[in-house]
């Protein structure tokens, strides 16, 4: 079986979309430079021309708006924001325009635009080169938000996003770019809104996405050595998210950790916790635990960074606590 890295899978998805569909084009900053987008767009401008791989002026708002307009005219644009932080300059075309368009016009038209937002953090980059603000966008009616954790999903979700017919925020994480997995050579879709069980288990359900899926898999290894069996559910899409798969897992394990790469307060982990508490309360044997970023901006200093991004360790601690809290008395 052929394997590719996450970055190679991303590049292949773009290349196959561009070569099979003349309505696809890519617009955004740094597309001609590995410095911005890693190897995920390597040489695509040479292969498909700089008319379709457009390295843009420093104008997040208008480039995103232009992609929304082009989508309304029947194109399938992918607008790339090499740092999600900078995408916040484009909230109007995403939230006010693209997300509302179908509803505002009675469902007669959609805005099939993919907003590719890259989480690019760590390495002492500090508060404005670090943020993962996916929850803000998942909040908005009319938006879909996907967060692939594997190379296979990186390719299949991009293809699904382009042909969804609606605005889809596609969020990839630079920390995952060297992760490798099986990636078929042909074009394929990973359905939006369908989770995957990455590791079956009996004692604790860990619901995660993107980078936190990788962290949760590491945590599950550590916990297995302690005799705690984790089921890791990778959501893959956070809007819509696969409630049924999460409920099914909770029914089995009776314990839930929600692990998210964003902040805690009003974060995506709160959404999952609230839904499970509301819909599957009778199956819970312990309180729901959340692993999220502390409610602080991203720091620079390595020491502070280590504390800020302690994802896998926090999942381990949370699982130990939940199992201890519900351990049968001797």
């Amino acid at each position: 079986m052929r394997t590719l890295t996450y970055a190679e899978a991303l590049r292949e998805a773009h290349a196959q979309l561009l070569s099979t569909d003349p309505t696809v084009f890519v617009f955004g900053q740094g597309l001609w430079s590995p410095w911005y987008v890693g190897s995920s767009m390597k040489d695509l401008d040479k292969e498909f021309g700089r008319d379709r791989i457009i390295d843009s002026p420093v104008s997040e708002n208008a480039t995103t708006g232009a992609c929304v307009g082009a989508a309304l005219a029947g194109m399938h644009p992918i607008v790339v924001h090499p740092r999600m932080d900078f995408m916040l300059l484009a909230v109007d075309p995403i939230v006010n325009q693209a997300a509302n368009w179908s509803y505002m016009f009675g469902g007669k038209i959609g805005a099939p635009v993919v907003i590719r937002a890259i989480i690019n953090r760590g390495g002492e980059q500090a508060a404005q080169h670090s943020q993962a603000v996916h929850a803000m966008f998942a909040h908005v009616p009319g938006m879909k938000v996907v967060m692939p954790a594997t190379a296979y999903d990186a390719k299949g979700l991009l293809i699904s996003a382009v042909y969804d017919g609606n605005p889809v925020m596609y969020i990839d994480d630079r920390w995952l770019y060297s992760e490798e997995s099986h990636v078929p050579e042909e074009m394929y879709k990973v359905p939006i809104g369908v989770a995957a069980v990455r590791r079956p288990g009996d004692d604790v359900t860990v619901v995660a996405s993107s980078w936190m899926t990788a962290q949760s898999m590491k945590a599950a290894e550590v916990l297995a050595a302690q005799g705690i069996s984790c089921e890791v559910v990778d959501l893959r899409s956070i809007k819509p998210w696969d409630r049924e798969q999460v409920f099914a897992s909770v029914r089995k394990t009776g314990r839930l950790i929600v692990a998210d790469s964003g902040w805690r307060t009003c974060g995506f982990s709160a959404e999952v916790a609230a839904e499970v508490a509301g819909e599957a309360f009778q199956h819970l044997r312990a309180p729901i635990a959340r692993v999220a970023l502390p409610d602080t901006p991203a720091p620079m200093s390595k020491i502070l960074e280590r504390e800020y991004y302690a994802g896998a360790e926090r999942v381990v601690r949370a699982a130990e606590m939940l199992v201890r809290a519900t351990a049968p008395s001797a």
Partner: protein, 327 residues
């Protein structure tokens, strides 16, 4: 009249009268409480939409904002669908989801008007970019007010259209007010058109109440756009007669505006076009015939809107996501 034929002038005249009559009736219905959604009236500015759209084909794209009844009607949008939308009926162009500020007529190149100030300017750059990539020969026109030129959207968009030589036309309807704030309370100089020179694109500042000047300036811009020579910024200087929103005349914003209105009313673009038509040989009977035709059209659209069904509560939940034809 320059090189404009009497037939063309008559078409633009009728287009302006249709906007005026429709909006006068809408104003009455707002006052009567029959229409509830916010309506931003275009009365006094009709020559800009009618003159510009006369220079376009059905396939060209037009974008507007909160004050877009005129753009929609001049481009050929259905009066019935607009009136029904303002009444909040399911037969409206947005099925009663949008109202006056959300007009939609894709069959004539209107992919949606929305009230976020300046928001459709980048979208117009997007349709222009799509046209360039597809080589479909269409131009994209964005209509917006002077207030929109204070948004980053505008400056970023003009730059992008300029750098890629996109077939885009930016029509700034400078009516000297953003809501209640006068132009010189919001910018240091009355120089909107200079943005064009700063970006190396064509620019023109013209009398927006002169429908022939509007048509001729827009025609030159369309020719440049179709020839691949890039975008144009047109500053059309005009005045809105009514207030920012609704039927009132905004006298509450002060005496200055009242004096201005009495200066601008004699420059009514419709009276001006009627005078030009008369000079070219039309008689009063012909002018009256236009009024009678338009009055009947508007009355019938209102009657149809009144009797059309409203949405049901269950409709709240549909169309959050678009369901495209299978791919």
């Amino acid at each position: 009249m320059g090189n404009v034929s009497i037939e063309r002038l008559a078409r633009m005249y009728e287009s302006m009268v249709r906007i005026r009559v429709a909006e006068d009736r809408i104003a009455d219905l707002v006052e009567a409480g029959e229409i509830g959604c916010p309506c931003h009236l275009y009365i006094g500015q009709e020559a800009i939409a009618s003159g510009t759209c006369e220079a376009l084909t059905e396939k060209d794209y037009v974008w507007g904002g909160h004050r877009s009844h005129g753009h929609y009607l001049a481009k050929g949008g259905s009066l019935d669908a607009m009136m029904a939308e303002i009444f909040g009926r399911v037969t409206g162009c947005a099925e009663g989801r949008g109202g006056s500020m959300h007009l939609f007529a894709p069959e004539v190149g209107i992919l949606g008007t929305v009230p976020l100030v300046a928001a459709t300017i980048p979208l117009s750059v997007g349709t222009a970019l799509a046209s360039k990539l597809r080589r479909d020969g269409r131009v994209s026109v964005a209509f917006f007010g002077d207030g929109a030129t204070e948004e980053g959207h505008f400056h970023e968009s003009v730059n992008i259209a300029a750098v890629y030589r996109l077939p885009a036309i930016f029509v700034c309807e400078n009516n000297f007010y953003a809501s209640h704030m006068g132009l010189l309370e919001r910018r240091a100089e009355d120089n909107i058109v200079k943005t064009a020179a700063a970006h190396g694109i064509a620019g023109a500042s013209i009398d927006g109440n002169d429908v022939i000047a509007m048509y001729e300036t827009a025609t030159a811009a369309v020719e440049r756009a179709r020839a691949g020579e890039g975008p144009t910024l047109i500053e059309a200087r005009t005045y809105r007669w009514r207030g920012h929103v609704g039927p009132s005349y905004d006298m509450d914003v002060g005496v200055t505006r009242k004096d201005e209105l009495s200066e601008w009313k004699p420059r009514d673009p419709i009276t001006r076009a009627a005078t030009q038509l008369t000079a070219a040989g039309w008689d009063q009977t012909q002018l009256d015939a236009v009024s009678a035709r338009v009055d009947a059209e508007v009355a019938s659209s209102i009657a149809r809107a009144r009797s059309a069904p409203s949405p049901t509560a269950a409709d709240l939940y549909t169309h959050v996501f678009h369901e495209p034809a299978g791919r």
